[in-house]
């Protein structure tokens, strides 16, 4: 009769111990791995909500290879249709079909919000792993979540402090709060919905909300997504951008 509680205790320990053993850095590594993919193709709807209740909708199609290459094209609204963005490493170009003109986005332009929203061009081009620039500290843990504080001494990062609430089961960031030099919260990124794609779970609805400006947010809803797509070699070239 005594053997049953012992087995139960051993089972519990075997489940709890690996979780407890995980450091903040390990959680971030897992998160990086979870969010990283070799290649993907998606169609998404971006909603830019401005204070006062105005919503603007942008439908887009994108192709991504790791954190190095990305090509995105607006499908809607008609005014934006055909506008394409090409990302190659840290460089970003925009092609405007109406003017048949390509512009490289650099310097302060990278810090502007895409379509006036809360996602900047810099956010689009940022590609390094979180642990390269931040030190991770585990600041809270529940049965289902873990809270990590990322702190950077490198003031070249946009947000020197980032607080990430991670779902332990899916290793998806439920909420990220980005703060400035003085730790004042500036922006939060909330995962509204996730979806299973084969053996991986991925966020398909994300909201970026300003914590300084009332009622200002940008929502990114992935409508279709395919992972592990093989793209032709010339997909991420200026030739394809200007096609």
């Amino acid at each position: 009769m005594k053997i049953i509680p012992i087995i139960l205790i051993l089972l519990t320990i075997s489940i709890i111990l690996p979780c407890q053993a995980q450091t903040a850095a390990e959680w971030i590594e897992k998160l990086d791995k979870q969010m990283f993919y070799q290649s993907a193709e998606y169609t998404a709807l971006m909603t830019v909500h401005s204070p006062g209740g105005t919503d603007r909708y942008f439908r887009m199609q994108g192709k991504v290879v790791g954190d190095q290459f990305a090509l995105m094209e607006y499908l809607d609204p008609p005014r934006q249709r055909g506008t394409r963005y090409l990302k190659r490493d840290d460089n970003l170009w925009i092609y405007f079909p109406r003017q048949d003109r390509t512009m490289q986005i650099q310097g302060h332009m990278l810090r502007k919000g895409v379509q006036g929203g809360d996602m900047s061009f810099e956010d689009m081009t940022e590609s390094s792993s979180l642990l390269e620039k931040y030190e991770a500290l585990l600041i809270g843990e529940t049965d289902t979540t873990v809270t990590i504080m990322l702190e950077s001494h490198d003031m070249t990062v946009s947000y020197p402090f980032r607080e990430i609430l991670i779902d332990k089961r899916t290793v998806i960031p439920i909420r990220i709060v980005n703060s400035g030099v003085g730790r004042m919260p500036i922006k939060e990124i909330i995962t509204l919905a996730t979806k299973r794609f084969g053996d991986r779970i991925y966020p398909v609805s994300t909201e970026i909300r300003s914590l300084l400006v009332k009622d200002k947010w940008t929502r990114f809803d992935i409508e279709e997504m395919k992972f592990g797509v093989n793209f032709p070699e010339d997909t991420f070239t200026k030739k394809m951008l200007e096609r």
Binding site: P51, G52, G107, H108, R111, S152, D154, M155, T156, V157, S158, Y159, P160, G180, V181, G182, M184, I186, L212, V213, K214, D215, K216
Partner: protein
């Protein structure tokens, strides 16, 4: 002398015609004097606003700073304090200060607007600029205490009052966001639209903290002992501190100067047309006068007046009309300018519209003696030129034909 007497008598003989002819010219000259006074006034106000609220006489910038479209923290003066001490000891300098300008967002509730955030040294800034003295309500910046001064237009647009707390969101020089919440100490009203509509002033220490540039500045602003010294001073500064790019206010305000020149030319064309119409009227009157007095001209020639004297009589008639019109126009024009200079011409009807000049609320015309004298001489020249052709025609006529047929 006889030509002048005869010309004067001729004008008195047809008083109504003389008055009507002179009136057209008078109106044209009044418009010219008033417009010149307005342009002189707006130029003077603009230059004052630019110098005392924005550009000073000369400014020094870090190499590369001016190549950017707007203030850029990649090109700042790292040890501005030490350079400022060198500048202050130079002759020909009345005062100098350092400023740190950042482009950021002012956030209040659901409103966010791009603003110029200018860090000022409260101890030195008032020696160069008048901004900190232009407080309309509340208090100015007098210490390093973290407070903000904002323009009245900006305050009105965002419904902000003294004591309200605003959030300024900027990128520090390395790149990290650095938001700051600051109470509004005072609201300024300078009359410079760019300052009143989109600028926030904070103590230099606060701006340095926001940009993470502990000794940095984006500019060293200098007031020369005399305005005319600025170019000469700039050459001296370039020689002594070549690590900075020195610019005079004229260079920094080049866009405004070009625009003012263009507007003056544009207005000159309109006024020129008005004067031309008046001149044609004057010329026509002179021709009519000659036709009416053909036999009289013939009689004068028969009495021994040579053609040169006849020519002089008619030219002098034109000159006297111009003189009469000019004197009246100067009196009325100067009176209008003095009145408008006192009351101002309200720009309230333009609202927030950019009229291209760094002025707002009202334009105050001035009486510029040179402009008035130029308008007066211009009136005289136009009158003489308008009567020139008619006088020449009168002088060349044949005596017999003039007496017998009444034709020259």
């Amino acid at each position: 002398m006889i030509a002048l007497r005869l010309a004067y008598r001729n004008l008195r003989r047809n008083r109504r015609r003389t008055v009507l002819t002179a009136s057209a010219l008078t109106v044209g000259l009044i418009v010219l004097i008033t417009m010149m006074g307005m342009l002189d006034g707006i130029d003077s106000q603009s230059i004052d606003n630019l110098i005392y609220y924005d550009l000073a006489h000369v400014k020094g910038f870090a190499d590369g700073y001016l190549d950017e479209d707007f203030p850029d923290l990649e090109h700042t003066i790292p040890h501005a304090d030490s350079l400022l001490n060198i500048v202050r000891n130079l002759s020909g300098i009345s005062a100098a200060t350092e400023r740190l300008e950042i482009i950021g967002m002012l956030i209040q509730g659901s409103e966010e607007v791009f603003v110029r955030i200018i860090g000022v040294d409260p101890a030195q800034d008032t020696d160069v600029f008048r901004t900190l003295e232009a407080v309309r309500s509340g208090l100015t910046i007098s210490t390093d205490e973290p407070v903000a001064l904002i323009g009245d237009r900006l305050a009105s647009d965002l419904s902000l009052n003294v004591g309200d707390v605003i959030t300024l969101l900027v990128r520090s020089a390395p790149g990290a966001f650095n938001p700051k919440m600051l109470p509004i100490a005072g609201i300024i009203s300078t009359g410079h639209p760019a300052v009143d509509r989109m600028t926030v002033y904070v103590p230099l220490a606060v701006a340095r903290d926001m940009t993470l540039l502990p000794e940095g500045a984006t500019e060293i602003a200098i007031m020369a002992s005399k305005l005319t010294y600025s170019k000469r001073l700039m050459d001296k500064l370039t020689q002594i501190l070549p690590q900075l790019e020195w610019r005079s206010w004229q260079t920094l305000a080049d866009d405004f100067i070009q625009l003012a020149r263009m507007k003056r030319t544009g207005n000159g064309i309109i006024i020129g047309i008005i004067i031309l119409v008046a001149a044609i009227g004057l010329g026509n009157t002179m021709i009519m006068s000659i036709h009416e007095r053909t036999r009289e001209i013939g009689a004068l020639r028969a009495l021994g007046f040579n053609s040169g004297l006849i020519w002089r009589i008619f030219v002098l008639e034109g000159f006297l009309i111009g003189l009469f019109a000019g004197i009246i126009a100067v009196v009325i024009g100067v009176a209008i300018l003095v009145y408008l200079g006192h009351t101002g011409i309200s720009l309230a009807g333009y609202g927030d519209m950019d009229i291209g000049y760094p002025v707002r609320d009202a334009i105050y015309p001035i009486v510029n003696v040179a402009s008035v004298a130029m308008s007066f001489v211009f009136g005289l020249v136009i009158s003489v030129l308008a009567s020139w052709g008619a006088a020449r025609h009168a002088a060349r006529g044949q005596i017999v034909r003039a007496l017998r047929e009444g034709m020259l």
